[in-house]
Symmetry: C2
Subunit: 352 residues, 2 copies
């Protein structure tokens, strides 16, 4: 079946493009001598997680316990969970996962470490804990290498935990800033007798500058498998590299300059990521998606030499592909414009 016969709105994944993106990143990582640990938040599919490991990834990254549980169930055995695990319910689920697979987590406070230390008490099977470092992103993470030292000591001093290394999600476009921070922290820890087994960083915007990651030993890109409009604008991809598109139908042409598609914020999300407009229309590069309500996408087609007709299907490259896959129960794998397979998004909606 040709993709144009799929009911809309729907997520299409071009397999050849995804495969090329995966292979290119793995080759870059191999050339840079850095391990790849892809973040599955982008695809949320065991299918691609397994493929990433087949191609050479050392394991996967997840952001939620629910994602880790889905991936463990699907046979993934080495998972880094890059989120502070707080509270009894989550600690209990983490413990159950740790009994089945190799899982590591992060911490950026003594409170977080304390919860882990009270849950994991078996020195014969300790939990690996990375110290999360804020190297410029301004989100989670310790602010100074001195703080990293305090937390590394607390981890190393807990009999059921071991210090796994340093973790950061760097500010986009500033990989060298992150690398400097991490180099200083590494030196400080080593001067204080604490070995740093691994240093893990990430981010698709700077994926092709992996060599600037300096002391980092591991890279955790997510978006790179599909790419999206924000990555095109940032220079990390071309539109022809974008493997994920949202298939939509033009359902109204209220005025000569306007088309309404059946893809709104419930299909494309409201993520702007600093961009103007809500996506790129593959068939109509001169169109601008000027507004979204939940089920409607308003498209300015006044600059298009020919405008789409009611009933016509179009493909939209979203601003940000990761949250898009979280909105759909299934995605359609496409090769040469033919539908190959429809997959449930197994780790969709894993908010906890």
């Amino acid at each position: 079946m040709r993709y144009t016969a799929i009911d809309t709105p729907a997520v299409l994944i071009d397999l050849d493009k995804a495969e090329a993106n995966l292979a290119k990143a793995q080759a870059f990582a191999d050339a840079a001598g850095i391990a790849l640990r892809p973040h599955i938040k982008t695809h949320k599919l065991p299918y691609f997680a397994r493929r990433q490991v087949e191609l050479g990834a050392v394991g996967i990254t997840v952001q939620k316990l629910g994602e880790a549980e889905v991936m463990a169930e699907a046979g993934l055995t080495d998972i880094l969970l890059t989120f502070n695990i707080i509270g009894a319910a989550k600690l209990s689920r983490l413990k159950a996962l740790h009994q089945r697979i190799t899982i590591s987590v992060v911490a950026d406070s003594l409170e977080c470490i304390e919860g882990l230390a009270m849950t994991f008490t078996d020195p014969s099977r300790p939990l690996g804990v990375f110290v999360e470092c804020d190297t410029g992103m301004g989100r989670c993470g310790v602010q100074l290498p001195d703080d990293a030292l305090v937390l590394a000591r607390a981890i190393a001093g807990s009999r059921g935990l071991f210090f796994a290394g340093l973790m950061t999600y760097p500010a986009a476009g500033k990989p060298k800033l992150a690398a400097e921070w991490l180099a200083q922290a590494k030196a400080l820890l080593e001067r204080n007798g604490i070995a740093v087994p691994a240093i893990t960083t990430g981010g698709t915007p700077d994926i092709w500058k992996m060599k600037d990651a300096g002391v980092a030993t591991e890279y955790r890109p997510g978006t790179y498998i599909y790419m999206d409009r924000s990555q095109v604008v940032s220079g990390a991809a071309r539109f022809e590299d974008c493997a994920l598109t949202v298939l939509a139908t033009v359902v109204s042409r209220p005025t000569p300059g306007k088309a309404i598609a059946d893809a709104g914020s419930k299909a494309l999300t409201s993520d702007l990521l600093g961009l103007q407009g809500h996506g790129y229309v593959v068939e109509y590069p001169d169109a601008r998606i000027t507004g979204l309500s939940e089920e409607h996408g308003t498209i300015d087609v006044s600059a298009c030499p020919v405008a789409p007709a009611i009933g016509e299907v179009i493909r939209i490259v979203p601003n940000h592909c990761c949250p898009v896959t979280n909105l759909f129960d299934d995605v359609h794998l496409i090769r040469n414009d033919e539908l190959i397979e429809t997959l449930p998004v197994a780790a969709r909606g894993k908010v906890r």
Copy 2:
């Protein structure tokens, strides 16, 4: 169980507040002599759809066939689907629904009417079709009363369809503009011998100005059941009326002025609706949610006399409650801070 023991992030619905919002709107509609047909996109729950009908609603509104199917399965028998139905797959599902329940749809083009007319051909059980009118919103809908006349004639001239009336989603804050448009169209149609059985409008921002709806016979509010920050800013509600909150845990305090919660755009959506910031923190009214990534909410707590600690739970009134319920597989019904019941969001993710 107290709500604070629910694992986060989670959606809480305060039943007393929701009930009060429902009752108030029904009383306003009764006083205005206008029928209420609530839009279920906000709650996506058969539980509340049934309650709305119990309280006096004439039926419900949906935006998607998938929503209509869920609601029909749950026993709702009178549904208005306010979206152009285009294409064979959807027309076939609409036909199946029409055989089970009373369902009406809208159209704003001859192309849309043609698809309906080819699918519905039985004059003994015709499909009701409203003409959608753009009365200022700038989304779908015919631009001029003259265009409404053309479409009403086309509907009335199709043997398996009947002209059900005029439908609009008005621009917020401009109910009188919509009312004028609709009055002109009604007069034009009647002058041309076409009776207008119903005129349906909607929108929570102007729900308490229902009397300004003029010739409208029916009102389709959605958000009013839960209310949200955008409705508070527009003046339609107070924060204490907001029945839906997102329960979140503070997972990091990277700096004295900053708290990170485990509710990001995957819990709150990126919808701004013209506002600054991403929600209102009930326990910390001086806090500002300054940024969201998928799983992190960054909160500026520098203006708070006391700031939340790591592990503390907070409730967030989102900017826009409707897409929030689309992100969660379940919601928690609360009364007097106690968990009453956890419900699956039956119509979540019905993109098609």
